[in-house]
Amino acid sequence: MIMNIIETSGLGKRYGGTWALRECTLAIPAGHVAALVGPNGAGKTTLLNLAVGLAEPSAGGITVLGGLPAGSPAALDGIAFVAQDTPLYKNLSAADMLHLTRNLNRRFDQHYAETRLGELGIPLHRKAGKMSGGQQAQLALTLALARRPKLLVLDEPVAMLDPVARHDFMATVLTAMADDGVSVVLSSHVLAELERVADYLILLSRGRVQVAGEVDGLLASHRMLTGPTTEADKYAERPVVHVQRGGAQTHLLVRATADDPVPPSWEAHPVDLEELAMAYLREPGAGALPGPSRGRGTQPSEVTR
């Protein structure tokens, strides 16, 4: 049995009178790099804060690591969290941060941490405040991974990094994933970066889950159809997620597999993750959620009701 690394049901979080997240029901299986995607204010950080126990739900429930209450001692023990902008104690050196983290956790792989920092060329005596953004992010990630977590949660880990640092950071994440089998949940609005690393996608919009599923499955069940604009309104065979009208030609992102018939005078192309995410982000009413009664065969607008 594959456990769910994060499982929510009817989860909601309200700050004052505003719902940052509502009616969020999802199950992220273990063993993935799951990307949490959505526009600013969609509830990504809120969902992650709930998962790591920094926030308490206003409605519904959330469990982690196969049924542990979020924020419980066992959950804290098994989850490492790197918050947005990688907060570190700026006046502490890398060595002090290692020592600090080791003291605050049951497990800490000092050898791994020192080796990694050595590979990255981060001197142990350097203070966190004197490091570049990339080095700070790497230090925070190293501290998290040295805890040998079952789940690594990253909130906008690469938003502040330059492309090289971004690449290095994600390479570290993927190595840890491959070596230790740590599950990863990360939020990002840098779609291009996710293509390379994520194999599970959760799309949040306006505080609700819009799309959730394995990337391969999502890509296989969506097609981009290109055809004459005059016929765009007649297409009704498969649910249309997003319509992009041009002068003569129109692009339709539809829910269809490679086997589905293509209407005459239309062409079908596979979609990539960025196109898929963009299409859904532009159509907050559309949805693609796992489950037998949802998704296929119904109009997008009905799915989320």
Binding site: G31, L76, D77, R106
Partner: protein
Amino acid sequence: MTALTMPTRPGHDAGLRPVPWRRMAWVTWRQHRAALGGVAVFLGALAVYLWLTGLQIHHAYAADCHPASSLACTINFTGRYAVNVNIIRAFLQVVPALIGAFAGAPVLARELETGTFRFAWTQGFGRWRWALAKLVLLAVVVAAAAGAFTVLFSWYASPFFAAGYAIPFATDLFDLLGVAFAAWTLAAFAIGVLAGMVIRRVVPAIAATLAAYAGLALATTLWLREHYMRPLLTTKTNVPGSAWVVSQWYTKGGKYAFGAHGSGIVNAVSQLCHGGNSGLSPAQCLTQHGYTAWTSYQPGSRFWPFQWIEGSWLLALSVLLIATTIWMVRRRAA
């Protein structure tokens, strides 16, 4: 992959041993050594000064104050050192507030202001345990430092009590002696950490701590302390010199006439005693006219009971404030 072979049953890991408490000792020391060092240097410098001047004071007292009423004592002891003790006792009033503001307020406010609480509170140690360990450790250290300082100050000030220049019950000495100084320092620290948790910003939390401490200390000195025990009442005029005179007033025919200060007594004296030209003191003059002078006072023997009362309620207040802070750490949503 190991992730897939992990236990999937809830509660399997629930019995895991928490991270030992003692690990927070290093964490607390490493994170707050600058603040603790600041407190140590500050109190240490004051202590060195008190010790050096204290030696001179004790020497002068031993040389010239037998008896304490001698002219030599007045000139060489009180005349020379009274200014010193008066400046010191005024300055020490603000020391607990400074410790609370600069060592207490930033403890949580800085974590919240810089976002590092997201790091600290998601470690395996657990956030409320983290807060409890850190706050209790710091509180004990700060209170112990203040307590040690009090011992020195009591020694420094003792010749002034012996010479009858000051009494331990004096409002600006009582809170520097006994257990009160440590208790006030502890309370200031507790006010500081709670202010930091509530306000979440270092500088406003420091300001709020100073204001709250000043309010509490003033209210205690002006209104609260005199009520710890019911004052003794006397109509005699020779109240012991070590006593704290709480208030004095006059009665006539069993009814309250006027207080010992203010316009009532001034009017009475100017009407009845011919503006003081009768050759009698105002008090004697008023007694002649049938007024009775009343004094309510706390005898000097109540110094230690009062110390324990003040220490106890300040300790209880500090525990309450720190417990509230920890409860907020536990409850606060990110």
